[in-house]
Assembly symmetry: C2
Homo-oligomer: 244 residues x 2
């Protein structure tokens, strides 16, 4: 990665959406630990969208003081998973079809523009990273076909890495940051479609076309395919008719 540090040691928004539960995420403080646990519970839907986050409850549940809970929640406001209203507490960010569409449109804007730039100005390092990420994704594709339950999480990581390396050449820390936020929210919607079965539509084929157009340095084509790829994954979720 040619990126600057992007403050791996900074706390706040989560840059590694997919591997939420990865083991090496050792928390160095109670605040961080509570923040992390809350994030998982929100993304997984244990704490349901829109519901209130009562300090007292959480304080008891996590066996920490109120202040610690409040600070963890305040930090979670960063990635928009938690909303805060003055004098009336914290809430899990609500979900809605409108929100999902906004999420997607914004992702399209950022990711498609970035891939255009990357394809144009990506060097050999970008190219080899991309190739590596793609072949890892294919391998993961096969594995996940064989036994979906065990491999799904790893497939998601491979998928995310592929998307990241597509835009790896040109995007800024800010773009990364925002895409990370969008991703963690999108993951929340994906988990709503409970069944972790692999999508019926041929994601695999879509990836292949995107990959090839990137290598062929066809920026416009690549961007277009990527847009369709992203947008079509919405319609899958949309079928579940989220209310509001």
């Amino acid at each position: 990665m040619n990126q600057s540090a992007l403050g791996k040691e900074l706390i706040g928004i989560d840059l590694f959406a997919a591997d939420l539960a990865s083991p090496e995420r050792k928390s160095r403080s109670l605040i961080e630990s509570v923040m992390h646990r809350l994030r998982i519970e929100i993304v997984q839907g244990v704490l349901s969208a829109g519901s209130r986050l009562l300090i007292d409850d959480l304080q008891r549940r996590f066996d920490v003081s109120g202040g610690t809970v409040r600070e963890a929640l305040s930090l979670l406001v960063s990635d928009g998973l938690v909303h805060a209203k003055t004098q009336r507490g914290f809430f899990v960010a609500p979900m809605s079809l409108q929100d999902l569409e906004g999420l997607t449109r914004t992702r399209v804007a950022l990711e498609c523009e970035s891939v255009r730039e990357s394809v144009k100005c990506g060097g050999s390092e970008w190219e080899s990273n991309l190739v590596a990420a793609y072949s890892e994704l294919i391998r993961s594709d096969e594995r996940v076909m064989r036994n979906p339950d065990d491999e799904f999480d790893r497939w998601e990581i491979a998928n995310r890495n592929f998307h990241r390396s597509l835009i790896g050449a040109c995007s800024s820390d800010w773009t990364y940051r925002f895409l990370a936020v969008l991703n963690i929210h999108l993951e929340r919607y994906r988990r709503l479609t409970s069944t972790r079965t692999l999508p019926e539509r041929n994601v695999h084929a879509e990836h292949e076309l995107i990959f090839q157009s990137a290598l062929a340095r066809d920026a416009e084509q690549c961007s277009l395919l990527l847009r369709q790829h992203i947008e079509s994954s919405v319609s899958v979720v949309r079928q579940f008719a989220l209310l509001r």
Copy 2:
């Protein structure tokens, strides 16, 4: 505005970058008040980029408890003005040329894509809002020529409103949110070019062309002009050669 509430009452990121000091910003809690004051000091450079934010100092300076300061700082992590590192405190977000470029690239991606959509699908409401915002901007242009010092802040607001109404038809809450974050950071860079004199290059003419192409429903042209407009405003700041 056709937007959903976008939680005006939510605290966290600041959606009204320009009118930081506007009077009706009554804070309903100490946390909010401290957060607000800190935000102003950071954007204005009173607290310099990269510097440490010591709890003890701030606690004394604002005459509140440490916990209150910590929570205010944690909330400021949302809009990236404050960085937090576990067990070693809070910092003012650093500034660098690279950061400025990333900020700009990301803004271009979001704003240009949004304007494309808006120009395509904007209805009469969008159009009349745009016309209103533009004419207000012209009026502000004139006023600010006459006496720059007094009117500058108001011009910035008019300018921001013009940009917002350009993309008003189609963009999502997420896009708004991100653009607000980018804007407040860009404002920090603008203030670095101390002199609040109006830009030499003809911003006025650029705005006019953008406005006209929007009304003419020439999405591509409008997007292109907007891109150039945004990018050229960077080079102004760039001259000041921020180090690091």
